[in-house]
């Protein structure tokens, strides 16, 4: 693990990812940190954000100022409950749709249906909400939680010329309404078979515009292109900036349904640095080779936390495969080892300095 802390005036964007899971840690300058999403190191079983920050000697209880859960997919919020509980000075932000009564009903339904917390997909949200409810307001009367909604500034510090600001680009009101309808539709009626709810609309994702140390970056979460009134088309209709982003966290693991040309021509500057984490949990690993070529054509300086291909099976995996007999096919561990791409830059520097750890590599190295 990279363990040299940033200097006070360095803007850092660290992205962590095993094969399934994504977490971003930001140093905004002046010892202030933010955590965007969460994943768990499969070896240590700890949330990677906490492990990284504690390894740097950061007092997470005091210096982490913001935690954002961009959406409710479990590859983006594993372990986030522990992060919220540890970072007691941080404001927690989640999509406005995730605080709607319809979503909370699914969270309660999940616990009622599953019982065992281990299998509960929404257990992290349940844990966070209980923690938030028990936390007193800070001395300035600031509440512990903020709704993520388009155009909302969820963090601001400093003054003109040395401003740090984090603004939500999504979800739109339309996306929140659609999400609430989807949640309501997923709520069962009496007589239906009990099962864990499984509704995870990406349109409620919180994409972020971050300004710090004189630079702007775009964190795309898993936001997709539509449907109408939602996604990147809606973002481009509502948001503009005099500055373009010099770094982008590629949305939705490079999937084509999250690619919008307008993002790259209007929000992202020329020769940007692109960061992303792969997704191996589905039937189509992302980014696929065409996705990699597309991203590299737009950002030759692109880095990924791990290969989208499944790693060589570990001894433990081979043992489980043999034990599972022939009934189970394609037994796989999509998570694998943790990779880390770290980008740092100061106000005086034009480019980002990149450091890689674990299986992280330049995106061109994963294209076959």
């Amino acid at each position: 693990m990279l363990n040299d802390p940033p200097s006070t005036n360095e803007f850092e964007v660290s992205i962590f990812g095993p094969g399934k899971g994504e977490c971003i840690v930001l140093h905004l300058g002046g010892g202030h940190w933010a955590v965007i999403d969460s994943c768990v190191d499969q070896q240590s079983r700890r949330p990677v954000a906490l492990a990284y920050l504690e390894n740097l000697g950061v007092n997470v209880a005091e210096n982490v100022r913001l935690i954002v859960a961009t959406h409710a997919h479990d590859d983006h919020f594993a372990g986030i409950g522990s992060v919220v509980e540890a970072c007691t000075s941080a404001v927690f932000v989640c999509s406005a749709a995730a605080t709607a009564e319809e979503f909370l009903a699914l969270v309660e339904l999940d616990q009622e249906a599953i019982g065992s917390l281990r299998l509960s997909a929404y257990r992290e949200y349940s844990r966070i909400f209980e923690h938030i409810a028990s936390r007193p307001r800070d001395g300035r009367g600031i509440k512990a939680m903020r709704y993520g909604l388009e155009s909302r500034v969820v963090f601001e510090a400093g003054s003109a010329g040395a401003l740090t600001r984090i603004r939500c680009l999504s979800p739109t009101d339309e996306a929140v309404t659609r999400s609430r309808k989807a949640f309501a539709s997923a709520f069962p009626v009496a007589g239906q078979r009990r099962r864990a709810p499984s509704v995870n609309p990406n349109e409620l994702s919180v994409a972020l515009w971050v300004e710090a140390q004189g630079k702007s970056i775009l964190l795309g979460a898993d936001l997709e292109n539509g449907p109408a009134g939602c996604g990147w088309e809606a973002v481009l209709g509502a948001f503009s900036s005099t500055d373009t982003a010099s770094l982008i966290k590629v949305p939705h693991h490079g999937s084509p349904n999250a690619h919008h040309d307008g993002v790259w021509t209007r929000l992202v500057g020329g020769s940007p640095t692109a960061l992303l984490a792969p997704f191996r949990g589905g039937t189509n690993p992302r980014p696929a080779p065409p996705d990699c070529l597309r991203i590299l054509s737009l950002a030759p300086s692109s880095y990924i936390t791990a290969s989208p291909r499944l790693p060589s099976p570990s001894t433990a995996l081979k043992r489980e495969r043999a034990a599972m007999n022939s009934l189970a096919r394609n037994v796989r561990d999509p998570w694998g080892a943790l990779g880390h791409v770290r980008a740092r830059s100061t106000q005086e520097e034009a480019a980002w300095r990149i450091d890689l750890d674990g299986p992280a590599r330049h995106l061109a190295d994963v294209v076959t």
Binding site: E101, R193, R195, S198, T283, A316, L327, D333
Partner: protein, 199 residues
């Protein structure tokens, strides 16, 4: 001594009564023949006759004679030592492993489930299964359904081993209106609590 012999007789009697009229395999024939010999030994011992070789069931000591009677005696010894012990079942489970999981996708008659070992240390994994392995009482299998994967190792006669596996849905029953109302009420309470702490 009576009780074990009674149990032995009962077990063999049970087997006799259940024995098929025609042996279905060479193993069945050998088992039938052994049972007959063991039954003969037990009957002679109960009658106080012992065995022709002077061997008692307890000692298993062998005779030294080599007459045709001795050969029969040796048969008894052999049958006594190879007769199925009543305390050992014909086949037994020697290994059992379980995983529990949640179905994440159902696509093209293939289920993908995320599985975690229940009874041993091991990683959480993804695995694919044929959809027709699961037969819910009604309705379709959907993401969010919980499953158990069980793998049994069975050791049979002659030290043979076989492995069987099964995948089944966790039966969680059906939602009642009162349960759902309870969920709605808790969601409302949580919503009110959250919105006191959010802006």
């Amino acid at each position: 001594m009576t009780a074990p012999l009674v149990a032995l007789k009962t077990q063999f009697a049970g087997r006799d009564s259940n024995r098929p009229s025609v042996a279905s395999s060479a193993d069945d024939e050998a088992r039938t023949e052994s049972e007959d010999r063991a039954s003969t030994v037990a009957r002679r011992y109960r009658m106080g006759l012992g065995t022709r070789s002077g061997v008692t069931p307890e000692t298993g000591a062998a005779s030294q004679r080599h007459s045709p009677d001795t050969l029969r005696d040796r048969d008894h010894q052999t049958s006594r030592s190879t007769a199925p012990r009543p305390d050992v079942p014909a086949s037994r489970i020697v290994g059992l492993q379980k995983w529990e999981g949640r179905i994440t996708t159902v696509e093209n008659d293939v289920i993908t489930a995320e599985l975690t070992p229940l009874d041993h240390e091991g990683p959480t994994l993804l695995a694919d299964f044929d959809l027709d392995l699961l037969t819910p009482d009604d309705g379709a299998v959907e993401p969010g359904d919980l499953v158990y994967l069980t793998v049994r190792t069975v050791r049979g006669r002659g030290n043979s081993k076989s492995v069987t596996s099964s995948l089944r849905l966790k039966r969680m029953g059906r939602w009642s209106e009162s349960e759902l109302q309870r969920v709605r009420d808790r969601a409302r309470t949580k919503w009110e609590s959250i919105h006191q702490h959010a802006q």
